[in-house]
């Protein structure tokens, strides 16, 4: 083998050296958004794991301990994925009757707070009376959180349901859960609600809400003028305002890589439970 390489006296014509082929120049790729880390997608499902964006209230040690506590709580009860606009049923231990529970069904109109202080508000109309109950997400007295209908609405906060017709926030207390097929994206409900006539609790016309159908019919010319005067079209270009409201990507990826393992284990456990549930015998319906 070695001799084959040294053919100094060979009569065979040597192969003509080909001019070195120009290597295809690396075409600069179109700069798209950099490939984002898939674990960053947790931020939509578990927004309370991210700390408060206000640096005055940051404390890395407390945040870390809270995250550990939240994961511990999540191992005790199943806290499902839900969004503002989803319909939930919450069972909570009754503080006045030992060993008994209360169940409330309603639409989630707000999610706020971070860490162990995360909370959500459910709204329903029972016996023509609007009811809102605020729950702490990690409250140890909560027995069960069940998502009856998983969907989003057009807005981030649904406080305008308070001034809308009661039919938009009325949900039967014995609603059956609707099961979405696995892997489908969370549906957005494009429902636009109709408001009751004034007086209202807030000036809804100034808030650029997408989920209200009939707001124009109640507005006076003064309302319209004031709305125009109060518009802040520059705010969507205020880069630092956006920056101060969020947690930067680098910090987020640190947090998510810290909790990713346990969150995935919890998700696996939930899937197993869901599969078990599908094989249970259907309820006999009376009547």
């Amino acid at each position: 083998m070695i001799f084959l390489e040294f053919r100094a006296l060979s009569t065979l014509p040597e192969r003509v050296e080909e001019p070195p082929q120009e290597e295809p120049k690396e075409v600069p790729q179109r700069r798209g958004p950099k490939s984002t880390n898939p674990i960053l997608e947790h931020r939509h499902i578990y927004p309370e794991f991210l700390p408060d964006p206000n640096p005055k209230w940051r404390n890395s040690l407390r945040e870390k301990m809270e995250r550990a506590d939240m994961l511990k709580r999540r191992q005790q009860i199943d806290i499902p994925e839900f969004y503002v606009g989803s319909i939930l049923a919450v069972t909570i231990a009754d503080p006045h009757a030992q060993g008994k529970t209360n169940k409330f069904v309603g639409i989630c109109i707000e999610r706020k707070g971070c860490g162990l202080r995360a909370e959500f508000t459910l709204r329903n109309v029972v016996d023509h009376q609007g009811l809102e109950v605020r729950y702490d997400l990690y409250d140890p007295t909560i027995d069960k959180i069940q998502v009856l209908r998983l969907e989003k609405r057009l807005d981030d906060k649904l406080f305008y349901l308070r001034d809308a017709l009661p039919e938009y926030s009325t949900f039967p207390l014995d609603m059956d859960p609707e099961i979405l097929p696995e892997g489908t994206p969370v549906p957005v409900n494009p429902l636009k609600v109709k408001l009751k006539p004034k007086p209202w609790l807030e000036r809804w016309e100034r808030q650029e809400l997408k989920g209200i159908a009939n707001i124009e019919q109640y507005l006076t010319t003064t309302n319209r003028l004031n709305r125009k005067l109060r518009q802040t079209p520059w705010e969507k270009f205020d880069l630092m305002k956006q920056y101060r409201k969020t947690i930067p990507m680098e910090e987020q990826s640190d947090i998510w890589s810290e909790v990713n393992n346990q969150l995935q284990q919890l998700q696996m456990a939930r899937k197993k439970m869901a599969r078990k549930r599908t094989f249970t015998a259907p309820k006999t319906q009376l009547g």
Binding site: R30, P47, L50
Partner: protein
């Protein structure tokens, strides 16, 4: 207690950001503040080194950093980023500069895209802090020389001269002391010679 906004992902800035923004005082309020900052950001991208009041410079610096980091993250085929660049850069040829010059320049950098120095201010004036704001990698000479021990610096020249003077005076002192020390030994051995030396001194 606020929940972090998760609708947008932003890259972390490599500069210090204050917890609250500064209201740059002006008759038009928040809109006027943004207008002021637009002018400064445009100037910074255009001239690459500007002198501004410290507060306004620091605010504009944050916006410029955010604009460049958005441009790096999304590139020029992303409509919202393009709109943002269009809003912040008042001269439209600077949009091309942002995406074609600054993005390649800063794409692989690990440090901030801008630098800010405190600038000297006139002695008798309103107490407005001045600052120099510049983009990194600009074509101008450095404000601070990288060689700290340049011999031709006026401070170093003066220090050298002072050292020289001090050394000379020390040598003279030592020479004097040596002469004095020699006196007593010479007095014991040869009296006439010391007299001669004293004569020379007196002369």
């Amino acid at each position: 207690m606020n929940q972090a906004d998760v609708s947008k992902l932003v890259s972390k800035l490599r500069i210090k950001v204050k917890a609250e923004h500064r209201n740059l005082r002006n008759p038009k309020g928040p809109e006027g503040r943004i207008d002021k900052l637009r002018k400064t950001v445009t100037g910074l991208i255009k001239f690459e080194r500007i002198e501004v009041n410290y507060n306004r410079g620091d605010e504009a610096r944050q916006y410029a950093e955010r604009l460049i980091s958005e441009a790096i993250r999304h590139g020029d085929c992303h409509t919202p980023t393009m709109k943002m660049a269009d809003f912040w850069l008042l001269e439209k040829e600077l949009v091309h500069k942002l995406f074609k010059v600054l993005v390649p320049r800063f794409e692989n950098s690990n440090v901030s895209f801008t630098k800010m120095y405190k600038a000297p201010k006139p002695q008798y004036s309103r107490n407005l802090e001045k600052a120099v704001l510049e983009l990194r990698g600009n074509p101008y000479p450095d404000l601070f020389t990288k060689q700290p021990n340049n011999r031709l610096w006026i401070q170093n020249v003066l220090l050298e001269a002072a050292k020289h003077d001090y050394r000379q005076s020390k040598y003279a002192e030592i020479a004097q002391n040596m002469a004095k020390n020699e006196e007593p030994t010479q007095v014991n051995s040869e009296a006439p010679k010391s007299e001669i030396i004293e004569d020379i001194k007196t002369q």
